[in-house]
Symmetry: C2
Subunit: 332 residues, 2 copies
């Protein structure tokens, strides 16, 4: 690699000051059009690309955002990332993607890392840190928006879908179709989404006069593999189960496999409902009934809140979406 071309190299070659080069490449208007053209020709000829470290140091802006997700292998988060990326790219921003692998320590480390990189903003998805852990970490950042979690005072905004309402829809849909032994495949309650699902599931059952049977609640990580294993165990031990509500679609697809392996018919013997409406949900067989969450929009909205905060525009700090029940074959 040859030595980097700097702004001084361009200035020298174009017979102008570095300042003029700066004006030309940054589309300032205090420059004669023909001077700009001349400079840009030289920029092109020398193959000059500005050093964004130097630029960031001088301007205190990096034109970069960070996005932190718990699992990059989950299409739900991929869709959020894409939504965020789309809007970011429209503003000539780009994105540092951080994958915490559901690890709280790693989440905290990523937050510090992004701070060091001086990103202009951070989209934090499905954080598994507590409010108390989060507040100090967020307070030092320029702008943070929370996805899948309600607002904290140290954040500029929050956008989430009402998971509790979603669970209500799922449970009631199953009750209406005559199911009574409704099991739940969820997880530890270390995130807002997990707590909300659990509480929506339980309270809706109770409202309909059905006692919550904790032996019908399976604990599993939100992965397909875990969904398969946990559903397998649960269904073997509880033959009476006639419906299964899953934390997300990955778990639901795993549960579908478990049923297949056990010779349990879906939806005849057992109905299954997922959550998120990832693309796979419509493709499996039987197709999954699930809750559609506007994942792409979630990401886009989170980034737009960051941009609003950066330019100091007044904006709505909270945005809640209500999920939509998409009825397919797995729970007609």
């Amino acid at each position: 690699m040859r030595a980097r071309v700097t702004i001084s190299d361009v200035a020298r070659a174009a017979n102008v000051s570095t300042q003029t080069v700066s004006r030309a490449i940054n589309n300032k208007r205090e420059i004669r059009p023909e001077t700009r053209r001349h400079v840009l020709t030289v920029v092109e000829r020398l193959g000059y690309e500005p050093n964004s470290l130097a630029r960031g140091l001088a301007t205190d802006r990096t034109a970069a955002l960070g996005i932190i997700v718990p699992d990059i292998a989950n299409p739900f988060f991929v869709e959020i990332i894409r939504g965020a990326e789309d809007l970011a790219l429209e503003h000539d921003y780009n994105i540092f993607l951080c994958n915490t692998v559901e690890n709280p320590a790693r989440e905290a480390a990523m937050l510090k890392l992004l701070e060091q990189k001086r990103v202009d903003g951070i989209v934090l998805c499905s954080s598994c840190l507590t409010d108390d852990e989060l507040q100090p970490l967020l307070a030092r950042q320029r702008a943070v928006t929370l996805v899948n979690r309600p607002l904290l005072s140290a954040a500029e905004g929050a956008v989430w879908s009402d998971a509790e309402a979603g669970m209500r829809m799922s449970v009631e849909h199953l009750l209406h179709s005559g199911r009574r032994r409704i099991a739940f495949l969820g997880h530890l309650e270390n995130t807002y989404g997990r707590r909300a699902r659990r509480s929506g599931y339980e309270s809706t059952l109770r409202e309909h006069g059905i006692a919550v049977d904790s032996s019908l609640i399976g604990s599993c990580m939100p992965y397909m593999k875990d969904g398969l294993a946990t559903a397998h165990n649960l269904l073997q031990e509880h033959r009476e189960i006639d419906a299964l509500i899953c934390h997300n679609d990955l778990v639901a697809v795993g549960a579908l496999q478990a049923c297949h392996n056990l010779g349990v018919g879906v939806p005849d013997d057992i109905a299954i409902i997922g959550c998120d409406d990832i693309a796979l949900a419509a493709l499996v067989c039987p197709a999954l009934t699930t809750l559609r969450v506007p994942s792409h929009e979630l990401g886009r909205c989170a980034v737009s809140m960051i941009f609003d905060a950066l330019v100091g525009v007044e904006h709505q700090a909270e945005r809640v979406y209500t999920p939509e029940l998409i009825v397919r074959q797995s729970a007609p």
Copy 2:
């Protein structure tokens, strides 16, 4: 957000020079242990996080890598990313993830962007640019390794799996099990992997005395949805097909759905083979026969080549893996 704490703030508060602070936080040994302890206490108390822009400008190192993939929704690339990330994190490096969405213009733009960010190295996966387009873009980077593509002179290394050999295994496996009308679901030949698959498929058929029938070659993007649609059309028009080799597992899972929808039995009526061995391959029903590619290792290896190049260590510039045929129910 309060004003950023800088190294001078720390120096002042600790009653030392900025240099001493620098030595303390960078674990240099020209510093008295107790001075270091003292400085680090102040660092902690003030909540100082070094500015990596300033550091990068001064050292000409950013401790950041870039990774460019065509599709972040494909678990195969996710696994490569994870492999890369794992090794990067071990070295306290972090990663800029760039998603080209199979768009060559965007790939080129990402390359320029990473150049501006002055990343220390780039892992470029399944590039869809030609050699001629790539060479000048790579020449300006500090270190680039190519994944899923053979070496170019402007790159420090390349690591890929022998897709042609993989296709040979797949075709021969099907021939041995008595299949004769073997269709192929692939795509435009704008990447090494795509060309190699196609040529492996065709040459192996010919070697076994079977003429290549181009009407048995379906063109589809490497997505599940496209696999479903293209397989559906192909199988409807060519009832005689008794086997289907797919570009990757996503396409194969789509094809599986198409068979299901058409009432075509797998593997009785038709055998299906995928490629990559993503987690989903083992979970669908029937489980997919596929080619295992060491995706995690691909990412790890690419990053290790970058580190070797950065420190100037002599290293093997090319690494080719041979895929392994994993026989499951879809093509026993």
